[in-house]
């Protein structure tokens, strides 16, 4: 697994299999290859299985205006070698078909379906070529991400077309969770196939939240406007997206960011990680019926939010990044408050963790539920605490240092329990690490001379240059790819959020035999959307009548299990 590779060795290895049409390597950490489209499956197999690369995402671009073709780009990362590779295939607009790589890399399933929806490129041999992103009934011959599609054209939808859900296995009941979501996050719909109280399979329909962000960034907004748009991709980890986007543009345009700005970015990113993990911990407790944990962790979290407001001017959507640097300085008069808040949070959180770690009922709800093995992590390309909870130590902060992380000292928290408890413990450990990093950032800032916060920006960002960059978000690795364009705006901007890969692992984690009551916390443990618990529709096929369960019922179900376990524990205790 810890095979060291370089750009040259990857080129050599690919050359042995198939001729490379073109390649270039802007730095020793980046490599772009162009191969014939017939060879893409071979190359993907070689990189993924032969060289142990991690699959990132696939992107498609309509480059008919500039070069007269469509392109498909698959991205891979070599974590131990700090190398990222883009494999490009050029497609003639007359013949938009290419071999699917999903059979080799299961985690590429969604990315290919997305390109199929938005650009009209067909993937031959895709095991599940249903639509993914666009609303039901969207005209089949319209592809929004093509350059001749106006960003604000809303075509009439065909009301008769419904999403083709999978047929449930025989003798099972379908439980629909969603799309009305609930407590949090984006709407999505899960169809669970249950037999009695045990889940035997599931199907997913999401992307109710598709807001055409990439199209807006490609065709309307300028580089700096798109930076603020990137921040609004997610309300919990927005700064991560804007940092990643800015770094991709900076890489493409060759902008040097001042050290002070890089340290401030790291500080704000860690602030965001703490607030996000505390939030997750609270919600996870809420879902399994342990409201005490919810209230306490949100109480501890609130001073962090006030600190964010004090440092950046907003509680969320800090809007602190711009292409080239940051907008606000953090001065010596602010250090004291950062240190006092981090100290206070660390003390209170440690007390809370000590108190609840002995809670055996809580443990039993998390232990051995939602098992995800390291092999499955690699196959599905999951990232962040979901992967680290299975003992896979991937962390963009360590593997591909960005911002000021090369100047900072921290450890990557991993746990090899592979279950919901392991993922919880990883997040708890990361909160303490983040507090440590924040204090180091303050030390660095006090040593650094005051100075420019924005790097030198050229008069014009050169068109058709590529940049890709990843940032470790609270949920995993955020990946942005930018192809610079004309008129002060990106030509193509591709975003890969961590949940994109992590949600795909949920069907893997819902192994046959999972209790229905354990579904919410398993969904929750990848930190995707608690939304799913909102409303369930139970269709009993045998009796062919249906009734609707609300979020409350599902949570009640989850809580009943908590109480049942408590009783059992109590009895066991008495016997001892």
């Amino acid at each position: 697994m810890t095979l060291q590779v370089t750009a040259e060795s990857v080129v050599q290895a690919v050359k042995e299999k198939t001729p490379i049409l073109e390649y270039y390597s802007p730095s020793d950490r980046r490599l772009y290859l162009t191969v014939a489209k017939e060879a893409i499956r071979t190359v993907a197999d070689m990189l993924f299985n032969g060289l142990n690369a991690r699959y990132l995402i696939s992107s498609g671009t309509d480059r008919r205006q500039t070069d007269g073709y469509f392109e498909v780009l698959h991205f891979f990362a070599f974590d131990r070698s700090n190398l990222r590779v883009g494999v490009r295939c050029l497609l003639n607009p007359e013949d938009l078909e290419i071999d699917s790589i999903t059979s080799v890399i299961p985690g590429a399933g969604w990315a290919e379906r997305e390109i199929q929806d938005l650009l009209g490129i067909r993937f031959v041999g895709h095991p599940d070529p249903r639509p993914l992103v666009l609303p039901d009934g969207f005209p089949e011959d319209l592809y929004p991400l093509r350059k001749d599609y106006p960003y604000d054209y809303k075509p009439p939808l065909d009301p008769n077309k419904k999403f083709p859900f999978k047929e449930p296995p025989a003798d099972t009941t379908v439980v629909t969770v969603g799309p009305f979501f609930p407590v949090l996050e984006e709407p999505s719909q899960w169809r669970l196939f249950v037999d009695g109280e045990v889940v035997v399979g599931c199907d997913y329909r999401g992307f109710y939240n598709h807001r055409a962000i990439e199209k807006l960034g490609d065709s309307v907004l300028t580089y700096n406007q798109a930076c603020l748009l990137a921040e609004r991709i997610c309300g919990i980890c927005g700064c991560v997206h804007s940092t990643s986007y800015c770094q991709a543009v900076e890489e493409a345009a060759g902008i040097e960011v001042p050290v002070r700005a890089r340290v401030i970015r790291s500080l704000i990113l860690e602030l965001e990680r703490i607030h996000s993990h505390l939030l997750w911990l609270g919600l996870a407790c809420h879902i399994i019926g342990f409201d005490y944990g919810f209230m306490q962790s949100w109480r501890i979290r609130e001073p962090i939010m006030w600190l964010a407001e004090y440092l950046t001017g907003s509680r969320k959507h800090f809007s602190i990044n711009l292409v080239g640097g940051v907008r606000r300085d953090i001065g010596p008069d602010q250090f004291e408050r950062i240190l006092s808040v981090t100290g206070q949070v660390e003390k209170q959180f440690l007390e809370l963790v000590e108190a609840i770690e002995g809670d055996t009922v809580l443990r039993s709800r998390l232990e051995d539920v939602g098992i995800l093995t390291p092999e499955e992590v690699r196959k599905m390309g999951s990232v962040g605490p979901t992967a680290r909870g299975s003992g896979v130590a991937i962390d963009a902060r360590k593997d591909h240092p960005y911002a000021a992380y090369d100047l900072l000292d921290f450890t990557v928290v991993t746990h090899d329990g592979c279950d919901n408890l392991a993922r919880t413990l990883v997040r708890i450990g990361e909160i303490f690490e983040s507090l440590k990093i924040m204090r180091q950032c303050v030390d660095l800032l006090s040593e650094l001379p005051e100075g420019e916060l924005l790097g030198e920006i050229p008069d014009e960002i050169p068109p058709l240059k590529e940049g890709m960059h990843a940032v470790e978000a609270p949920r995993g690795e955020v990946f942005h790819y930018v192809l610079t364009g004309y008129d002060n705006r990106p030509y193509r901007w591709k975003v890969r959020a961590p949940s994109y890969q992590n949600i795909q692992t949920v069907p893997v984690m819902l192994k046959p035999g999972t209790f229905l009551a354990d579904v919410p916390i398993t969904l929750g443990s990848v930190d995707p959307c608690f939304s799913c618990t909102e409303r369930m529709e139970i269709v009993d096929q045998a009796k062919s009548h249906s009734y609707v369960l609300e979020e409350q019922d599902l949570i009640d179900l989850s809580r009943k299990r908590y109480l049942k376990l408590k009783e059992q524990r109590g009895k066991a205790h008495d016997q001892v």
Partner: protein, 151 residues
Amino acid sequence: MIKSKIKQLLIGKQAGTVTLPYPFSPRPSEPGYRGRVVVDTDKCVGCGGCADVCPARCILITDESPFIRIIRRYLDRCIHCGRCEDVCIYDAVHLDGEYELATTDRSDLFIEQVLFMGTCSRCGRCYIPPNPLDRLMVVGFRKDEKWSGQR
């Protein structure tokens, strides 16, 4: 198990009541909070720089006639990023700490600004002379017709 529950109780006891008395006593936001958008019409020269950088594209500029420019800010979709404040070289836009902006009518979130501008005799574009005295003299007639024969 019991030890854990006792510890949990102690934490709650230790923290006490933390609820803020907010709606009954005012609670100012932190310095530097980006809240309500305030425009100082005396300072604004109508350059339109803010409209160029607004990500939400909520600042719209219409030139009603050669010497009247109307700047409309639809603050209902304003994202309070403060970029307009950053780029304004005359400090005419400011985001203050006021956050109590709720309203029953969407049209309350609207700023309309009428600027009476001079017109550049060369390019025909509007501008506001920074000095009020100049503003009195140049009352914004486009000189194109008058000078067209002389060029």
